[in-house]
């Protein structure tokens, strides 16, 4: 496994793969890898000749009061994990490589970010669409894989790729959970034992919602109310949003008549947890 730190070296390596006719799969990450990331890499490994992962904690997607400085990092064990899962190249640039002095160009969507996580994190998706555009120009993948845990991110990247005529096939990878059901996240490392336990209420609410829909409930408000009550029982929980919406437009629905996304975000103490499930009547 090769580790590349500079843009020029990464572009040159990908040029060679492309000239050789090899298909490149790409998994961008912010590191502190868990089984969720690794499952995306495994999917990439199956789909292409060359598997490239990036590890870059992207400052542009953190707001001024967010956790950029404390975001967990573990480069050495990350590289171990990448190697085990069969990554060919890890691209891990410095901030100065990605955002040099005088940097001023951003890629932004006008509608999809104004839902769910975008409402309380105004620069978040602008930072993501910008860095992903750059990474696509640097890594030049045929396929890129993003986790379905970040459902809105996946929808936004797909829309961006279509809108800007990027020739990258964007695939989703299934959300991976801990044994008890907590959605895997690098930020779970922040949780106290008590918060960790109470964090389960997100998944429990989604499971209960699924049951309700399967039993015929079509009213989003009834489901949201159930989730609100269940999550609020955790005394450190502050609900950011509980949304039942169209999986394509992310517009909230009045009635559940087809596959519908239930997405939620909860501050558990200072740690932001998100989770989602597609409910099918």
């Amino acid at each position: 496994m090769k580790i590349i730190h500079t843009i020029a070296e990464m572009q040159a390596a990908s040029d060679v793969f492309r000239i050789e006719g090899k298909r490149i799969a790409f998994v961008p990450t912010m590191g502190f890898l868990h089984q969720g990331h690794l499952s995306l890499m495994e999917k990439g490994r199956e789909k292409a000749d060359i598997l490239i992962a990036s590890i870059f904690v992207n400052p542009a997607q953190f707001g001024p009061n967010e956790d950029l400085d404390t975001y967990p990092r573990a480069m050495e064990s990350d590289l171990e994990k990448c190697k085990e899962v069969g990554v060919d190249i890890v691209f891990t640039p410095t901030n100065d490589q990605i955002y040099p002095q005088g940097y001023e160009t951003y890629v932004e969507l006008e509608k999809l970010p104004h839902h769910l996580c975008g409402l309380s994190r105004p620069v978040f998706f602008k930072g993501i669409t910008t860095v992903v555009t750059k990474l696509f120009h640097i890594v030049k993948p045929h396929i890129a894989i993003f986790g379905e845990k970040d459902f809105q991110q996946l929808a936004i990247i797909k829309r961006m790729v279509r809108d800007l005529n990027m020739e990258v096939e964007v695939l989703g990878g299934a959300l991976v959970r801990e044994e008890d059901g907590l959605a895997m996240s690098s930020r779970n490392a922040y949780l106290t034992d008590d918060q960790r336990k109470e964090g389960l209420r997100l998944f429990q609410s989604l499971c209960k919602a699924k049951e309700m829909v399967q039993a015929g409930e079509s009213n989003p408000k009834a489901i949201c109310d159930m989730a609100k009550i269940h999550i609020s029982k955790a005394h450190e929980a502050q609900i950011d949003y509980i949304s039942i919406c169209d999986p394509d437009t992310l517009n909230e629905v009045d009635a559940i008549t087809g596959p519908t996304l239930m997405a939620l975000a909860v501050m558990m103490g200072k740690t932001r947890l998100i989770d989602n499930m597609v409910l099918i009547p």
Copy 2:
């Protein structure tokens, strides 16, 4: 010469050229071609194996009160001219191809557009950077050529390409003038005989400025005042801006100590004329 109307066909054609190891030069235009455009194409013809031009009047770069509907069009004679100058492919998509239903992704710079033409045309450069990003993904050029008449546009495209790690070499092509000195522009077609004559005052001001700087004048205000007085003698002229600025940052300078851009924009009746010159002390 081949004419291509669809994105998929254009991408496939460029893929073939790239696989064959051919270098692609690209000149994006809004059509109604004059010698200024053709000189860019001639430059592209010299620099690459394959020359691709696009003709697309980009709605995203026109404000609501601007001249999108009346912008001059002459597809048939444009295609003739492209053929004469040795263009291999003209890419001329429909609006629906470029901005399909639900389109919502834009590329925007945060600093360079807030100068010169960007001040009175707030959506202009956002429309340009967006469409050029798309065209680069569709045409996949090695080299792209933009006229120095649109000096700010050229500076913005160069910055965008560097910021977003696009592997396109952006070249400027010298401004081309009519015999009497008026900068060539598709919009010159709008001018009445009288406006056409008075339009010369832009070039005359630049020439006088050049003389003043060569004679030792280093005060931008003295030069701007001269130009203001000279242009205002045309009774239909409304000055939008006269700016003496750094050619890289477009920030106005306090003193002319090195190569400095003088750029101006004037409404002549309803027609917007721009011109510029680099002044060298």
